[in-house]
Amino acid sequence: MNAPVPPPTACGGIDFHQEHGQRAVFCGLTGIVWLHRKIQDAFFLVVGSRTCAHLIQSAAGVMIFAEPRFATAIIDERDLAGIADANEELDRVVTRLIERRPDIKLLFLVGSCPSEVIKLDLSRAAQRLSGRLAPVRVLNYSGSGIETTFTQGEDACLAALVPELPRSPAEAAPSLLIVGALADVVEDQFLRIFAAMGIADVRFLPARRAGAMPAIGRNTRYLLAQPFLADTARALDERGAHRLAAPFPLGAEGTTGWLQAAADAFGVDDTAFAAATAAGRARAETALAPHREKLGGKRVFFFPDSQLEVPLARFLARELGVELVEVGTPYLHRAHLAAEIEMLPAGTRVTEGQSLDDQMDRCRAARPDLTVCGLGLANPLEAEGLSTKWSIELLFTPVQGYEQAGDLAELFARPLRRRALLEV
């Protein structure tokens, strides 16, 4: 799945590096924490170990208590020793779960490192259970650490949905599909802008309900709303859909570029586009201006986490005047990020992969004004006198689109303001 990308020969003017070693990143199971909020009648059942259950409860924090729609089927000794037939056990657990939660329409069996290493065939299990539990649909994908890094869990989940999507008729008018889980409020904002441009048929993947997933076909033009959707894009391409190349809708410039790609594909004229986006652009500009003062000239270092790093770095550099020390990313999809890479300041150091201790050494040596990193590193770096912004918040907070551009800047400005504020 995550075959290493060969070293790019001409990647704009960036200073590209690949690194191998210890990686301090989440596995793809973490994606469940926001995906289950998005698809409201889906349940995510991890087939894994106690470690997997512990990870999800650590990542989900207090959310675990609202009877969320995820759980772990913990593989135990009996399953490993073959005393219990793992498939029968899985069927038993799933049957019990569905009885307990009759509101569930879509069940994801989520593969983990243990289930993959013992080669438990979850795709067969999903097929078998789909037949038995109809009308509940059962799908599977891998969120294991050996296959996926953090947000790639969403990619794997959406890629599993694509073959299930209904086919739109060949003669249907072009429709626009937005791919990647966005906050409801952000989806609604984009719908209004597209409507103002005259693009009426806009759908989202994932949809909010299992029964309302969008149809696709040769008429489908899709925009990626997130940079980590390589497999999903490939699956959509296989079903005849066409990707619209665009930057990602982070910041005013990214949002305009992203909307522009749709406008161009749907023949929206410049006047209509300007009219539809003018108010949003103006508001974003107003919201960003005060942050430009605080962040302008600040030196920022990104540790790899979500693949959002390159678009975020582009936003910080171009719209807020930030200086980029290093932009770490777990993977760099050159095609999907082509527009972003082009917009990065020439010579930006981009590192794909990680060797944690070496990267921390570079960070310490550079002493950036702000370091974007995971929660395992944030407090230790703060204790060394470095200001940090913990990165996982960027996945849980609505940050896309014009109306959120100011909020996005605020996420980076706040740690600096706080450091200046504290007298002790």
Partner: protein
Amino acid sequence: MQLTLWTYEGPPHIGAMRVATAMTGLHYVLHAPQGDTYADLLFTMIERRDARPPVTYTTFRAQDLGRDTAELFKTSVAAAYTRFQPQAMIVGASCTAELIQDDPGGLAKALDLPIPVIPLELPAYQKKENWGASETFYRLVRALAGAPASRPAREPGRRPLCNILGPTALGFRHRDDLIEIRRLLDSLEIDVNVVAPLGASPADLGRLKEADFNVVLYPETARSAAEYLKKNFGQPFTQEVPLGVGATNRFITEVAALTGLDPAPLLDGLGSRLPWYSRSVDSTYLTAKRVFVFGDATHAIGIARMAARELGFTVVGLGTYSREFAREVRAEAAEHGIEALITDDYLDVEAAIRAAAPELVLGTQMERHVAKRLGIPCAVISAPVHVQDFPARYAPQMGFEGANVLFDTLVHPLMMGLEEHLLGMFREDPEFHDGVGPSHLGGTPFEAPQAAASLESVPAAAAPSLAVAPILLDEAVTITAASWAPEAERELKKIPFFVRGKARSNTEKFARERQLPLITVETLYDAKAHYGR
């Protein structure tokens, strides 16, 4: 396979991390897939540590599985040694690495490092976090404490010397318990040799044998190691865990007996405010309050005992997720005339709490959330806990100051005596009407949980899931009433809300047993007389 939403304990390698992170000069190389580094943030966020745990992960991925994960492991060990220069290392596998069957011990040994490298066997599919911590500490002590020897008798005039065993990273109040116990031992004129694992280095473990005896604060993590030290160096270890005034006094007596010192000066001292606070008249209302206790075995046992004997509560439920200590918890439960609940399934705990209909729940963060949902006051007395239970302030559980802390912790969630009295006296007054609820529970009116009505009165956020999730209900809840006469219903409303649910279910049970079709005011009071309180 076990369907799990919530787990009280992490896998055993988290226990090993708790020991490694507690210590200095020790490094842990963990053969684990990418993603297992999530465990770092338990230490850096929940405990707010200012450094990364001393753990190097191999973070192998699918592409490595086709190559040589064993080689990757060796490289990681070598690199970690070069970079961190530890005095000793522990090496082991997480759950996934256990399946691919590289041999961390053998591979590390092949590197022939000039420091002790201790392999850990932590069966991730059978055991859990506390076992992992205990086993890791035991292995470290075994490897580093030195050769078995008989200990020379203490020279006359020298103060007795002890080790304190058990505090770890991510331990519930371990930091402050340690301060409190050190103070106590110092007042007894006993010196502390080594505290371990918390703050100890591998070299310090080599000095363990110099002590006269061991203080075991947390049997979950330290009993195996203490037994090893007893067997090989003849060091006796303490059995009493000083939670509460009585246990602290017994602990002092026990330590005094081990050392031949006189405990009397310390026992006579005004060590804790708890005895007076508990005797003061405002505490009278605490008498026989129904309390449900759940947590790790040490805290569950100690606090149940203290709640019953020092606060005058009635323990109506006692349980633990620590299967290793089930026997001890069963014995304690028998003392309270109840049966212990040994489970790691929080739905079982929730069902037991509903069935016991307590007025106060003492548990972990899971019980806090269950109690919140049921509208029952609750205090946290055991791990697992959230970040707020690693407080900035001094907040021990053990010793005399710990008893003060526990008094406040256990009483604050309840309504204070005067407030409860006023509520009873002026229950129809607008300020004190019985729907207001205690001010410190957010002022949200609630029905007592055992009332059938509580299923409808759960907060909206939890409602949809509750509506679809069948929950084991106790008899009193599932069987709805013989119908209530309107005037009986009105009379029921005059009973303070915090006992109203109990009154309702008792009355309905009473009516059912007598096959009364209609509950009248008479029935209500007949039932009240029948059950007493």
